[in-house]
């Protein structure tokens, strides 16, 4: 069973994705802040990381940078899932090594699930 780490501070979204990903036969690990996210990425060795950007403790960009700098985590694909779409945000995330950048307001739930499946292939 493939493991997905979801780093997101909104518990409503943790629940929604937890339910839907379990139904799709994935195992989901939750982290509600950047610091926990980084720790779990190292200890749990997930197959994919879903990452929000506006996070407590450590900002998503910093999390992404650290994930890509660390030998143990640098090969894990990271999907950024955020509502942040300021000038340069997308380029910055992709430049830091994110696989995909998804703006929450622009995607349906099923489309996000499809992107997750595609990134895991």
């Amino acid at each position: 069973m493939e493991k997905i780490l979801f780093i997101e501070d909104e518990s409503a979204l943790q629940k929604t994705f937890g339910d839907i990903l379990r139904q799709e036969s994935y195992k989901m690990i939750s982290a509600l802040d950047g610091e926990t996210g980084l720790r779990l990425a190292k200890s749990q060795n997930p197959d994919l990381i879903l990452l929000d950007l506006i996070l407590p403790k450590i900002h998503g960009f910093e999390v992404l940078k650290k994930l890509k700098e660390d030998k143990e985590t640098k090969n894990i694909p990271v999907i950024v899932l955020t509502n942040l779409e300021g000038v340069g945000d997308v380029d910055k995330a992709l430049g830091l090594g994110a696989t995909t950048y998804l703006v929450k307001a622009q995607y349906s739930l099923e489309e996000v699930v499809e992107k997750i499946k595609k990134a895991l292939k």
Partner: protein
């Protein structure tokens, strides 16, 4: 500028009230006072200088005092403008913060509704689907408004990102028409599209140009009463592509036409006919068209319909 507009410009007290400034902090009023002082100063300096020609110190003292007064007034004017600029910046920032804060709960809500409607967690009864649809539509309306407000805030703070690349305007229009087909059908509207063959591609931001045409197409269908036709044309004019969209809808009253691209403006008959709408669509469309190096305009007759046109440069 006609007489009415000139008189409106002269109504300084009303203008100052709009800014929420006291008279002594209002730039327009201070400019007027400054003008009067300069006028009086010129006349009295002339009178004093000619009468007391033997006492140049007096004239010099007077010029010095008047200059000091004018300097103080100019200083207050500058500060007032700073306050106006600051207020404007804070307003844009407020819109941006609120919109961001609204965006997350709205997308959470939409995804939960989608999840419930998908039937993944149990069968949904027909009646429940009806209510879920209402939830989804209302959520979509809020998301759209928030997204428009964010775009407006970006336009006003000059941070609207334009990611230009080569795009086929014809393809983009065809895609949009097929997306709008269900809405047009439900509104009893037929869409006709005529394009000149072999049109060149343009260099523009597909996401933003899509927003412009989406707004024009949505308006054209939305403001048709009962049954009608929307005619779209695309062609090349000089170094630009020319897009035109004609409807036989309610049209725009003559007295409202000059305000149609203003933020939050909705014409009187549009509000009567369609209560929903933020009045931001055309403001956004104009800003994007101009930022992309193009132009936008229209002609309209109340009761007969409107024709909006858009030009976009090839490069």
């Amino acid at each position: 500028m006609n007489v009415k507009e000139i008189l409106a410009q002269l109504n300084i007290i009303a203008q100052c009230k709009r800014y929420g400034f006291s008279l002594w902090q209002c730039p327009q009023f201070l400019f007027l006072i400054m003008g009067i002082i300069i006028g009086i100063a010129a006349i009295t300096s002339y009178a004093i200088a000619t009468r007391y020609i033997a006492d140049p110190q007096l004239a010099a003292l007077m010029v010095f005092s008047i200059t000091t007064i004018l300097f103080i007034i100019a200083n207050i004017i500058t500060r007032s403008f700073e306050r106006l600029a600051e207020a404007n910046r804070m307003k844009s920032e407020f819109i941006s913060v609120v919109s961001h804060q609204l965006r997350s709960p709205l997308s959470n809500l939409r995804w939960v509704i989608e999840l419930l409607m998908s039937g993944r967690f149990g069968k949904i009864e027909e009646k429940q689907t009806e209510y879920f649809k209402i939830l989804k539509e209302n959520n979509a309306r809020m998301e759209e408004l928030v997204s428009d407000l964010l775009t407006v805030s970006r336009i006003e703070t000059a941070t609207l990102p334009l990611k230009k690349k080569e795009i086929s305007l014809e393809e983009l229009i065809r895609e949009l028409i097929s997306e709008f087909e269900p809405f047009a059908k439900a509104s009893n509207v037929e869409i006709e599209f005529k394009s000149e063959p072999n049109l060149p591609k343009i260099f523009a931001d597909p996401f933003q140009i899509r927003l412009v045409i989406e707004n024009l197409l949505d308006n054209a269908i939305r403001y048709i009463k009962d049954k009608g036709k929307v005619e779209i044309k695309l062609g090349k004019r000089g170094e630009s592509l020319y897009f035109e969209i004609k409807d036989n809808g309610v049209g725009i009253p003559k007295e409202d036409q000059k305000y149609i691209f203003q933020k939050f403006f909705r014409s009187e008959n549009a509000m009567r006919y369609q209560t929903q709408g933020s009045g931001l669509g055309l403001f956004i469309a104009k800003a994007i068209a101009e930022k992309s190096g193009g132009k936008i305009g229209f002609k309209s007759e109340e009761g007969k319909g409107s024709t909006f046109w858009l030009t976009l440069p090839l490069k």
